[in-house]
Symmetry: C2
DNA sequence: TGTACATCAGTGAACGCGCGTTCACTGATGTAC
DNA sequence: TGTACATCAGTGAACGCGCGTTCACTGATGTAC
């Protein structure tokens, strides 16, 4: 009797080609981001998005098959930015082949991730929609798994160890904890973001410090 | 022009008094939990909930003013269970006045929180709805703040320190990270929950170990 | 123990509204000649 | 440089449906006498 959740098309339809179309496309994403803040995931609709973007609904349907595809595009763009921050940071400090240098600069990573998420309108709401909306959940999971397996591989390589379950889950946990810390810093205004990010980086440092002594 | 998000009534209306009413009330909550799994937060509606609970919609409105109140009741019940787990664990190991004992048993706390969330139908979905749905977000934040300020107070007391911002954010971060770990263990089936919870507890231990040496 | 009655619990029917989606269309843009 | 034409972009109108919410109501439960 349980209704099986139908799979949802998340891919975009027509790509915008002309200048005007690109503005429309961007306008849809901006409107969606604003509405995520103003009315929330549970209330957002293609009608509302089109109205706020100043276009008619069929124009939206030209580019997106449904509202999940809009949220997906929004989420994918933000995750891309976050992943880029991570990769740049990682590559930069890895140059010397010394993991300790990475550890010493965890705060910088958290702060940059925080900044990039904060700069995006509705950044927090987007990230939380990725957690809560089922068709998007898998997108987020896949992205986090990818990043953490890259992390696990490189760390194992530098330390001359095999990529076992232990190191995989350590990497996975690190990524997940990192995002949780950033989200908390965005969400909670009773403590300053800097303080929370500081503490967060101390936590990750302490975690890896033990591993590096043991390994 | 930005639509201001209206505040939403989250409180229940009539409390069920007779036996039959209690069954109806519980049936509403169970139906909502199932639907959270089957159709997701963005699709759940009072109509769907009433239908699945085997009652008519006005019967639901007898107890809840809207769907947010239903989700709120569901979320509050789960957070209560989680907080109870925490408090029992905390009080139990604090008896000897030794924080180290608490640290040594962090895994147990995470595992019990994991279990209690897993046992609730739609536990993960409920927790994520609490994050993503704005009117509920504050409920979750308030609960986490309360628990972490209690933690901060007791820890400061045992260590003979004042409750400063530093210790407050440390406690806050611990609670938030704890829940993030549990949620990841529930969400990701590519790594075993036990392994992830183990790693999670190692992370929290390493974090506090440094604090206790320093303090 | 029986029943009348007050209160509690749930129903059926109705409402206006915004939702997602599609259609045949008009208008804008860019380019081949 | 001008224009005809193909393609791209967006519109207006319409649809059936499920949504939240309310109403006057019937039926169930419990208790005073």
């Amino acid at each position: 009797m349980a209704a099986v959740r139908q799979s949802v098309e998340l891919l975009e339809k027509n790509k915008p080609q002309q200048e005007r179309a690109k503005r429309t496309y961007e306008g849809i994403l901006s409107a969606a981001a604003e509405l995520l803040v103003d009315v929330g995931v549970e209330r957002i609709s293609t009608n509302l998005v089109a109205e706020r973007a100043g276009i008619t609904v069929p124009a939206l349907y030209r580019y997106f098959p449904n509202k999940y595809a809009v949220l997906n595009a929004l989420g994918a763009a933000l995750m891309d930015k976050q992943n880029t921050v991570f990769e740049k940071w990682f590559d930069h400090y890895l140059e010397l082949g010394d993991l300790q240098l990475l550890l010493d600069n965890v705060y910088e990573l958290l702060k940059r991730t925080y900044d990039v998420t904060r700069e995006q309108v509705g950044g927090l709401e987007i990230v939380q929609a990725l957690r809560a909306v089922a068709p998007l959940r898998e997108v987020r999971l896949a992205s986090n798994r990818l990043v953490s397996s890259q992390l696990a591989m490189i760390v194992a390589d530098v330390m001359g160890q095999p990529v076992d379950e232990r190191i995989q889950s350590q990497a996975r946990l690190t990524i997940e904890a990192g995002y949780a810390i950033v989200e908390m810093a965005l969400e909670d205004d009773s403590l300053t973001p800097e303080l929370l990010l500081r503490e967060g980086s101390r936590m990750l440092q302490a975690y890896w410090q033990g591993f590096m002594r043991a390994g």
